[in-house]
Symmetry: C2
Subunit: 722 residues, 2 copies
Amino acid sequence: MMMAKSVTGTLAAALAIATPVVAEPLRHWTLQDLLSIPEVRALSLSADGRTALYVVRVADMRNDRVVAVLRRVELKSGATRDMLRVRWIDQLRRIPGEDAWSALIDKGDGVQLYRLTADGTIAPLVVHPATAIFGDAEGAIYPGYGHAPLATGVRAHDWSPDGKRLFYVVLDAAPRSSKVRHGEQVVIERARRRAPGTATASIYLRSNGQDSLIATRPQSDLSTFFARSFVRWKPGAVLFDVTEVDAADRSHVMTLAWSFKDKDTRAVGSSADSAEAFGPHGGQLSSEGFGERRELVETVAGGETHSYGRVAFALDGRAVSRFRSADGKRTIVGIRTIENPRFGLAVLDAKKIRRIGGALSLNNCDFTPSLGRGACIAQSQTQPPTVVEINVASGQIRRIASVSPKHEQLAPLQIEPRTWTNRHGYKATGYIVWPRGYDEDRHYPAIVITHGTDADQRFANRENQWEYPAQLFAERGYVVLLINDYSARENAEVWSARQAWINETKSVAPETMRRMIWLNGVASYEDAVMELVNAGVIDRERVGIAGYSRGSQMVNVTITNSTLFRAASSGDGGYLEPAFYPDVAGSYDAVFGGPPTDLAALVHYRQLSPSLRAEKVCAAVLQQVAAPLVPSIDFHTALRKASVPAELSLYPGEDAASDETHIFHIPSNRLGAMQENIAWFDYWLLGKRDSTSPVADRYTVWDKMRDEAQPRCNGARLPLEG
Amino acid sequence: MMMAKSVTGTLAAALAIATPVVAEPLRHWTLQDLLSIPEVRALSLSADGRTALYVVRVADMRNDRVVAVLRRVELKSGATRDMLRVRWIDQLRRIPGEDAWSALIDKGDGVQLYRLTADGTIAPLVVHPATAIFGDAEGAIYPGYGHAPLATGVRAHDWSPDGKRLFYVVLDAAPRSSKVRHGEQVVIERARRRAPGTATASIYLRSNGQDSLIATRPQSDLSTFFARSFVRWKPGAVLFDVTEVDAADRSHVMTLAWSFKDKDTRAVGSSADSAEAFGPHGGQLSSEGFGERRELVETVAGGETHSYGRVAFALDGRAVSRFRSADGKRTIVGIRTIENPRFGLAVLDAKKIRRIGGALSLNNCDFTPSLGRGACIAQSQTQPPTVVEINVASGQIRRIASVSPKHEQLAPLQIEPRTWTNRHGYKATGYIVWPRGYDEDRHYPAIVITHGTDADQRFANRENQWEYPAQLFAERGYVVLLINDYSARENAEVWSARQAWINETKSVAPETMRRMIWLNGVASYEDAVMELVNAGVIDRERVGIAGYSRGSQMVNVTITNSTLFRAASSGDGGYLEPAFYPDVAGSYDAVFGGPPTDLAALVHYRQLSPSLRAEKVCAAVLQQVAAPLVPSIDFHTALRKASVPAELSLYPGEDAASDETHIFHIPSNRLGAMQENIAWFDYWLLGKRDSTSPVADRYTVWDKMRDEAQPRCNGARLPLEG
């Protein structure tokens, strides 16, 4: 099979620097392997470039929670040791001028700021009563992102370049109020399951052992509350960004300056030196144009532009942030390749541009102050995260140490990067994960997994595959297709639609929006699958699809517009459902032209909203959700009313007053959700049941739904009786 | 003023037996008076008719909760004393053959069954771990009705006529599960804010000190879980009702029988001897026909009917339950008069019918086993609850003791019963509460308060006036109109519409439903107000309307269909909002013809759903809610979008994991909600502000809404600048 063979060369190249050094025989993936993948959160290099500290988050199955581990690795020897194992570590920073680091750490009394030295000494820098909670819990001030409710004393910090001044933000939540809530404070709960708390942020500057309160900020200031103060140190002042919300509820970012001499804070307007990557000319960098090559452009104040030429990569918000040499003449920015997407570095010197990075993604990089040497996490679809050293001058990448020796023992799966062109000419990147021991003479079941644009050369990236265990599916004999959305910069028409969507304008007609943002993607999935069906690889009667969040939109639209899929798993979504309108009115207005209670707009909802097209579904539909939100419930109800086999599974939070998060954070929920996905696809695509599965008690419910289902789709086939 | 004067005679008659015996000067109503009205929950008479026990629920302001007080009153002397003050007392029953009572009591370890003697001795009969919670809280097995989350060990009990056998129900909740929930267990949370728990009921029979488990019942058995087992004692068996839910989710009531001899339980079919009132012929009693007189009919097995003639009252579910003499020849049933609605008793002997009761309502009655004597709670709009003795033979009613001497000290307001006939000929009963010191030469502001059909001769009945302090409004110079819905038995067309609504059929066209169930009522309010406007009593520019639950439907429909009202307060409602469709699909199908996502049905939503008619509103709209449910939020959002002054106020629960209930149960919330209503109507109708009001900090928000409001209604006037 040509496609299967073509991957071998790529894999060999990718594995050249990744060959595990362990002697044990390689083994196959298990659920425990997926659960125990360490997620690297931060990496910080010593000023001399000899030592790197990095943070991983790993599942602690015994306590059913995720813990953070701080590790120290010697770049010369690769010797690695754990320094600290606590609930949370974040914002690991080198302290300028010292052989020490700082980090936000929760040792059990909330997130506080500590000083760390290479010998493992940990001393408090700022400890503040941790009353404000980030998390999906009653009374939390803001939702969490894939973590347990997090009590927070210190929210952000930043060092002056000489290490003598410390900017930091502490939070103070109002005690849980038994007061009546009014107006907007009630309205926001329409979309949130939990009643929010409120807090104030206090911004301090520490200098010569003295702490000065330089600003107090309300909770509406997202810059401050989400650690995006973008602190800039000037000779006589420190500048930082805050978000102001005006009377009409419009927000804008404003820059404040604290003068060291005058000891006061004043607004310095909406600063041009935004958080965008800096170029060597002091301007903002951007990737322009459409298609497979983009122009890297630097725009300086006044609007003058410098082009670095057309390149096969783009700047990307998920790439490592910018680094700038002390003399300002050299910049290193994180980039992402357009085909076979992987992260790398671009070194910019005046007009020259040079890329560092090869078959592996480079993430979580840090550099010495001169930008001479760096350290990154290198990884790929098959290569577990590894610490590497970067020689910036030569571009050489040297493997230092594995982040997870256990995962190096896995026999790599064959994972083939692909760019598919659909019937309309749109290109989607992605990967084919070939079943273990692929046999050209067999026809395989297949599962498409999709989540926006993050199918790339990272190792079992959860943002992409969520709780859909792609590697396990491949081990179990499925062809897995990880398929990205086509790029928002595919062409000008797609770009216009995306811009209308993001900016919530009605400038693009609902018919076009539908096509540009959803239906074209459905064609990509169908055509990618059919290519392998026609090549005799995939059994077209056994094709499933899965995706969470943006992926759940695509899954729900796909199964209500395509008859190709027999089973689906849709994770924690619900966008496009009519009942969600008041929570996302501007966004829906852009997509549908108005609310579903407008007669004219309703016509468009009936063309796109999954629950209004339930009778068209040929797939058995599993929805796994983190909270019982209305849109998921409505879709489920519509499916059941249309006699479509459907399961809605709610994964609970830590306790009665908190919920699981959009990215699941409770290890037992992750395990359960993966097991449920395996059972679901095995049941509906293969007619297989496993009496030892933790969801085995659901088979009787599924049997009943199967027996009652209306075979409404051409060629649609219900699973074999078990 | 004729109308004001006509009330005097009625009042005098009503007060004849109610004249307070206290010497202190009469005083005016305060908020504390409204908060401290004792709510009589049960009354039970000793077998010799000498002693009555009764239970009141009263606010404990210091602990901000409601407590239950058990009182003993000697019927001869009226001497009353408190026996017990605890969290909860329910199901107070005389134990046959003993000089003792039983009751469900929560002394702090959950609701358990106790035996009480007249001397105050309290001994446990059944104590069971109280794990199941009724309440609006996370993990509760069912919502509560106007009470704090209630841990329940024993749910129900009943004594055999000889007092030797005890039927009782205990509950066992499953421990809070960290398990994934599926399907229907998730769907039910669409309409419920809190994740439910699950429990099992065990039904026991105690006999000769032995407890036999006679049935275990699932949580879907509403008969058992809501203490409606309707226990019937036969010579050899005890019969009790359970609710069975079939595979198609249809429920029906089934009767089980436990044989004392065989010691087993078997189904005896759907018993004809239902919980309906028994007649002297052993048949079911019903009130038939339409209009102001109804025919009281007894239907015996086989369908034969006996008529007791046409009477000016009807059987009513809110009246006291049936009593039957030991020989079965005499029945006493609770009734309610059709005009100037008040509760009374009908004594039925074979073909004779005799009414007991006069100007006062008789509630919470109990009788001696022979039905010779009884005791009731007597009350009216102006008469606080009083214990009275009933001589069944003579029909005489003798006042025994006040339930609340404090409220006897209130100078009665003039409250005039009325029956209004609207422009379409429909009659609505209700009351005019005249402002204190009514002056014929002044024009008064007015407030309509409505909640279905419970404006009647009860004392400040909360189901009717909720947190709208009618008495305070009258003290403050408002004319208050308590207006009922016209009767469902007004005529055959109304009856058909009501039946279609209740039975969720589409047999009546949406246009007719709209008119019969809502718009006709709007005409009643308008016409009742305009009668007093035209009589020079009410200032038509200062008219408000308030109502909770069914009343909130009527308020929301009224202000979106009438320009008469300038301020509205809508309590914990949201029915008729499109977003609520999936939670009440059958009901909405009956009203609108289908879901709002059907193009044909949407036309009807646009005619009736308040949020789709927000731009027609001339009133400033306050919504007070017990939970941030979607429909109330949607209406609020639509009002604000249409620049209608609107406030949405959420009254919180005891803690982060529980909510206030539909009938508020937290005294501080009650106080706050009444104060907010006073401030709201004073502000929008009178242009008055009170800087000492607890909601004074909202005036700036209201000022802003007032200044931004579009004066869109003919004659609509915004309040004076303060």
